[in-house]
Amino acid sequence: MKYLLSGFDIILVFTLLWLAWRLLATEDIFKAVILFISFGLVMALTWVRLQAPDVALAEAAIGAGLTGPLFLSALRRMERIHKQERRLDFDEDRDDDTHPQ
């Protein structure tokens, strides 16, 4: 049982480091947000293993559960703004095209 738990701890540590690295290195922001959520969940497990259930609860609820959706909604809003800008550019282009006629 003891070896099992230490094995689990080692897996936790390396998963955390790997997730953190992937999250910082990835180019796709959406993927980074999903990685951030999974990082929060693994972090909550780590807090449980460190015998800090209070922090684990807060991490799971706030770190993974709420910050993730917050990022996602910010991302959606950013995309919407980008799309609007692009549409404006497109309209300007079309205006330019129609002018010579």
């Binding site: 180019e27 259930p53 209070d54 684990a56 609860l57 807060a58 609820a61 706030i62 559960g65 709420l66 959706p69 917050l70 909604s73 910010a74 809003r77 919407r80």
Partner: protein, 247 residues
């Protein structure tokens, strides 16, 4: 996206990443050295907390520290959350929802089952905070999760909560906390030094108020802007029946 050989070459010639990684490795080594050199047989303030636990009004040492011994820090934390939502509300208006045809009946019915359950779990977390793991922040976060679910599923009436009630709810936690703090001062103690025989009920009062406000604040942060139908005095439209405003 895999970097091509050209990209790699460019990266190698750029000294900045190398410098940053050397700094990070150096910091990590330094931190590791400090952590290893710490004495391992100390208990920190554990004994002191355990000795004064019966005066704190809570049987969970974490809650005792958070709300009694270091109550000032928690008060400021609640104020920080409040300032965050004030900042967001002063920046933008909430984006229009209006995607009602997209929400599936499955989503709506799942949310209908989940939301009351989550409210119950949140309340339970606040209640058990006095003797086990839990407390205002955890309970508030679960409440906020219920709120976020309802906003995402576009439950009817959820976006039409009057701004006045929203504002009152956001202020409730900090206001209760401050009121108790000042009341303690008037009763003759220092700021936030609860009278011993009333400590447990005062802690529960603060935790309940703060959990409600934290839940509302986090959900409002998710919505990301002040409500559409804000107070008439703030939207600069003539309002004949405008009573007192809360802000």
């Amino acid at each position: 996206m895999t970097p091509t050989r050209n990209d790699l070459k460019q990266k190698r010639s750029d000294p900045f990443p190398l410098l940053v990684s050397i700094c990070i490795i150096g910091m990590t080594a330094l931190l590791g050295k400090i952590i290893w050199s710490l004495p391992t047989d100390t208990h920190g303030l554990e004994d002191q907390v355990a000795r004064h636990l019966d005066q704190s009004g809570a049987t969970s040492p974490v809650t005792a520290v958070l709300l009694n011994f270091r109550g000032y820090d928690t008060l400021l934390e609640v104020m920080v959350l409040f300032l965050a939502i004030v900042g967001v509300w002063s920046l933008t208006e909430a984006p229009a929802q209006g995607r009602a045809p997209d929400t599936s009946p499955v989503q709506t019915s799942v949310v209908r089952i989940l939301a009351p359950l989550m409210c119950l779990v949140g309340a339970y977390l606040v209640w058990q905070g006095s003797h086990l793991a839990g407390g205002a922040f955890q309970g508030g976060a679960v409440l906020a999760g219920a709120g976020v679910l309802m906003v995402v599923a576009e439950m009817p009436l959820i976006m039409d909560v009057p701004a006045r009630i929203l504002r009152l709810g956001l202020v409730l936690g900090p206001a209760v906390f401050w009121a108790v703090a000042v009341w303690c001062m008037i009763k003759g103690g220092a700021l936030l030094s609860y009278p011993e025989q009333m400590a447990d009920s005062l802690l529960l009062l603060i935790e309940t108020g703060c959990a409600l406000s934290i839940g509302l604040t986090l959900a409002a942060l998710f919505v990301g802007g002040r409500p559409k139908h804000d107070l008439p005095a703030l939207t600069k439209t003539p309002a004949p029946d405008n009573g007192g405003t809360e802000c």
